[in-house]
Structure formats: C-alpha cells, structure tokens
Amino acid sequence: MLIAAVMLAADPVAAAPRPQDRELLSPAEVDHLTAQVAAQLRCPVCRNQAVLESSSGLARQMQTVIREKIAAGETPEQVKAYFVSRYGGWILLKPEPRGINLLVYLLPAVAVLFGGGVLFRQMRRWTGSVESEQPAPEPPDEALSEEEEAWLRRQIGSAR
C-alpha cells in the first residue's frame, strides 16, 4: 500500500483510480475514507455539525450512501461532488475558495491587518515616538502659592 501511495504521488496520470486499484480497499480503508468525507460534509439538519458528528437520521443515512460509493470505487472528491450537485455548495463545511466565498477566507486576514495597523499607529503615538496632533500641555512652573501650600499641608496632615 505504501509503494502504491508513493507511485500515485509521483505520477499524476496514475493518480486517477483504476478499477483494479479498488480491490485494494480494505474495509478499514473504506471506513477511513468514509469518515474523511463525512467530516467534510455539513449535516443538512444540524447545520453546524459535520455529517460524521451528527446523530440525525439523515446524517446517518448520508454516511451509508458515502460508504457505498467509496466501496463501489468512487474517490472522496467524486463523492463530495455528488453531494454538491444535489445540495449545493453549502453542503461542504469548508466553502470552496471561489467567487464570493473568497471573502470568508480573505476578510478575517484583512481585518486583522487593518486592526493591527491602526493599533501600531496608535501605540507609536502613545510611546511618544511620533508627534501627536496637539502639543503636550506645559506643566505650570510657578511655585505653589501660600494658600495652596497650606491647603496641601492640611490634606497631608489629615491623612496621617
């Protein structure tokens, strides 16, 4: 099986499944591929769950359909394409990165970059490396008046 895998990886033409390859699928391999596809399909009933995780009747029946198709020789891609042709693109948990779906992948990155840029600019202002728009207020350099000093001593004295 490992040799077959290496050969398939090396030669794209051989990567297309040939009828005799399917006889190599053991029940464990069928289970594995079924689970793999079921993890990538959205349960139409409980739509935030994968078909693999959902306990709804339809999800379990979809798993049976997936298993039969895999055992009959279809590739995971073909099985997924079948469900997309019946239900539409939303049946895939991960939307295909095409057309407006690209927004789902790009917007978060853009938002992080934009927010990061704003944050960076603000932080430079806060640490004083950039002149802020208003000059910092000048500290008063007159000494305290007598009244102010007496008031201050009273405050400090009462705090002891």
Binding site: V45, L58, Q61, M62, V65, R86, Y87, G88
Partner: protein
Amino acid sequence: MKGAARWLIPLLPIPVLALLAFGLTRSAQVLPSAIIGEMAPDFALQTMEGDSLALSELHGQVVVLNFWASWCIPCREEHPVLARATREYSEGDVRVLGVLYQDDAASAERFMMRYGGDWTTVLDPGSRTAIDFGVYGVPESFFLDAEGKIAHKQIGPLTWPLLQSTVDSLLAASAPGVGS
C-alpha cells in the same frame, strides 16, 4: 489626509452594517437548490401498497413530487392543498406523488386514512431518493414538467395559490403546439 481619515473612519462600519442588514432579510432555513432546471433523478420505489413505481413512468405528466412524513406538522397543513390538486386536475395531466421521508408505512397509512386522499406515496428506505433530490427536511415539494425537468422546488408547506400557479404554467408550457 489626517482630516480625511477623521470622518472616513467612523463611516467604515456602514458597509459592514449594510451587509449584516442584508443578511437579516435572508432566511437561514431556505437554502438554494442545486438541481433546479435539471432532469429529476429517476427512481423506482415501492408504493405503500407494495407495487413498484418508477418516476420515468410519469413522463408526459406534470408531477408534484411531495416529500412528507406523518410526524411532520406542516405536512398536515399542506395535505388539503394536495388533496385539492388531485380533485381539480385530471390524473392524465397532473400527478401528485408522495415520497415518504424517515417514516414507516404503517404511520403513513394511518395519516392518509385520517386525513383522506388517495394519491400514491412511495417508500424511500435509507433516504436514497431524498438525498438524490437534495432534500434536507419535510415538507419539500418538487414541480416536474412533462419532460421530467425540475421546474421549481418548494421548501415548506405548499399553498394552493403557489401550487395552482406553478402547475398551470407548467401545463401551459407542455400544451400541444407549444414547443416540444
């Protein structure tokens, strides 16, 4: 630039809010069907009486294919609409065909006896046919034209105005002398 940014940045949430507002006008329950306009997938299933019925046998008739279940409350709401369709249209022109979804024949029989109606319902064990049609809940109804193409999918219970207008337009399109 600083002056421009000052009034520009507070406006940035507006397109986001517009997108969210648009989203609120869309129902999460109604998802677009991928098979409108395509030939309906053929099936050969057993009726509740035990005979075999293939969809291709209904070629030439307008078909209202109704996925339903006895436990489905909106299915009870639309049941009179289907019954009326079987009375008002001749079976040669329009065929109402039910497909049972995740239910057993006994419950379906009790339902039909209780609420009336004598149109055929086929059993779909394993939901193979439901999956073939991209069904994800009940009731869902598909309107097939005389050639077997899916003209319309209704998610949720049928209403008489919807059924009548859809069936009438499909009948008009398949009338002799029109296309074909």
